[in-house]
Amino acid sequence: MKTILVVDDSVTMRKSIQMSLELSGFQVTLAADGAEALEKLQAGLRPDMLLTDIMMPRMDGLSLIREARKLLRFTPIVALTTQGQREMRDRAKLAGATAWMIKPVGGLELARILAEHLGVVLPEPGQAPGPTPNAG
């Protein structure tokens, strides 16, 4: 099962992407900003893909992409953001990003694009167990 490190300062985005990807058959690790993600990478986390927002507190997505690329030489790094400016895309590409997606990207659409980017075949929806629900 492929692991994706999801970085976003919005708790709803983190939860939404986590559930979508886990229901689609991915394993997901979360970070609330670039600094937390970088700490996890420096601690030895080696995901199969890094999916990051751009506008974040403490460390933004562009800085994270730049720093993460030093640790993850061949790992796909995808930006998922509301920003669409060409200049911002070019900076991300220069920093080492491999794809740019503008929110919102639907749950299944996101999973399929990431699977294609990773070169994996996903199981049919409903076959993966998904995240563990909270009690209540």
């Binding site: 709803t12 919102p104 929806p125």
Partner: protein, 425 residues
């Protein structure tokens, strides 16, 4: 407009400092003159001038309130309201923040509920699939057993058929025996007839013995004995006849009873049981494909439920976009608050005019707009022409196009797209 206000303010400041420099220079010159020529230049002149300069500086430091309207009262009202505006903006910002928090909590709750729905559906599917598999196994087992039972019943039916045939043969034999027994009846009649004739003979012998007198006394005894034997023989013939009749009747009753049983024969019942087993087998055969179909439908339903949940989760990304929109409104409120604070200080004479006029501030807000709906709302509020949405299509991605159509339909078209929505570098 801002340039003209700035230039006027700058000119006023320059004139003020020029006056201050001239007065300070004159005071210093008088003090220096007194030091060189005490008689010619009295110290009081320099000190008076320095004191006057000091007083002038103090006076200039006092707020030079700009008068608004015709009366001081108007100025006071405007100044008081502008000073309260900061609090009003703070309240609005707080409300916006509360809205962000509320929507965030609601969306999180919805996502958790959807997750639970998915888990319950998954659990239900697991149970149904397990039940289907169990039923499948039971059906196959039952079918196998039904087959075995069918074979056993067939075997029993064959045995029963043979038994029935044997029984019928036995009945026929018994009927033959009864007939043979009935055929003994003439013999009994013959014995009775012989007995009767013997009796007549004994009577005649007795008569002849009586005629013979004394010489016939012995013969008379014999004749009496013969007659007694004849009577016994008659009784024996009667009993034989009754015995034959009773035996034949009993045999007939048994044969008739056996014939009655024949009508509800076990072979018939066995045939019915075999028929029931066949019906059960046919029903079970119908159940097996139904169970397979149920299992397939359950999988299909689960896939559809999960697809809907995943897509709904994707739709919930709009909460994040709304959060960013509300944060932009908060940012705009902050800039308005700062602007009016600067105006307040300007009116009080404590600060120069704001660096940016409100009109320019409004246009600066558009730089942060992400959605076309924001640009449209901005233009509508200002009575400007509504800009065309800038929809960016991905040439070879039908899915991305349909997603863009969805967004357009919901009025959430991106305002500042400068490339495809999804771009693989």
């Amino acid at each position: 407009m801002p340039d003209s206000i700035d230039s006027v303010a700058r000119l006023r400041q320059r004139a003020l400092w020029t006056r201050r420099a001239v007065l300070a220079g004159l005071a210093l010159a008088l003090v220096a003159g007194h030091a060189l020529w005490p008689e010619a230049v009295p110290l009081t002149h320099g000190l008076s001038l320095a004191l006057g300069f000091g007083l002038a500086m103090w006076w200039r430091r006092r707020p030079d309130r700009v008068r608004i309207g015709r009366t001081h009262r108007t100025t006071e009202v405007v100044v008081q309201d502008i000073s309260t505006l900061r609090q009003a903006f703070a309240v609005l910002k707080q409300q916006v923040s509360a809205t962000i928090t509320t929507s965030e909590t609601a969306v999180m709750s919805m996502m958790e509920r959807m997750n639970r729905v998915h888990y319950r559906a998954l659990d239900l599917r697991t149970r149904v699939v397990a039940a289907v598999e169990r039923s499948h196994s039971l059906s196959a087992d039952s079918l196998s057993r039904a087959g075995e039972h069918g074979v056993a019943i067939d075997s029993l039916a064959v045995h029963q058929q043979r038994f029935e045939e044997a029984r019928k043969q036995n009945q026929d034999r018994v009927r033959a025996v009864a007939d043979q027994v009935r055929q003994l009846m003439p013999l009994a009649a013959l014995i009775a007839d012989i007995s009767r004739q013997t009796n007549l003979l004994a009577i005649n012998a007795s008569i002849e013995a009586a005629r013979a007198g004394r010489e016939g006394a012995g013969f008379k005894v014999v004749a009496a004995e013969v007659r007694r034997l004849s009577t016994q023989t008659t009784e024996a013939a009667r009993q034989i006849s009754e015995g034959i009749t009773a035996a034949a009747q009993t045999i007939d009753e048994q044969v008739n009873a056996a014939s009655q049983i024949d009508e509800d024969s076990s072979a018939h019942q066995l045939s019915e049981i075999a028929q029931h087993i066949q019906t059960m087998s046919a029903t079970l055969s119908d159940v097996v494909p139904y169970l397979s179909e149920l299992s397939t439908n359950m999988d299909t339903g689960m896939t559809e439920v999960t697809t809907d949940i995943i897509d709904t989760l994707g739709d919930m990304q709009f909460q994040d976009i709304n959060r960013q929109l509300l944060e932009q409104i908060n940012h705009a409120l902050s800039s308005l608050s700062d602007h009016f604070s600067q105006l307040y200080h300007l009116i009080d004479g404590e600060a120069p005019p704001p660096p940016v006029m409100l009109e320019e501030l409004l246009s600066l807000w558009t730089q942060n707009y992400v959605m076309h709906s924001q640009r449209r709302a901005h233009a509508q509020a200002l009575g400007q022409s509504i800009p065309e949405p800038e929809v960016v299509r991905v040439p070879d991605a039908a899915a991305a196009n349909s997603a863009a159509d969805d967004q357009e339909a919901r009025g959430l078209t991106l305002a500042t797209s400068h490339g495809p929505r999804i771009e693989l570098f």
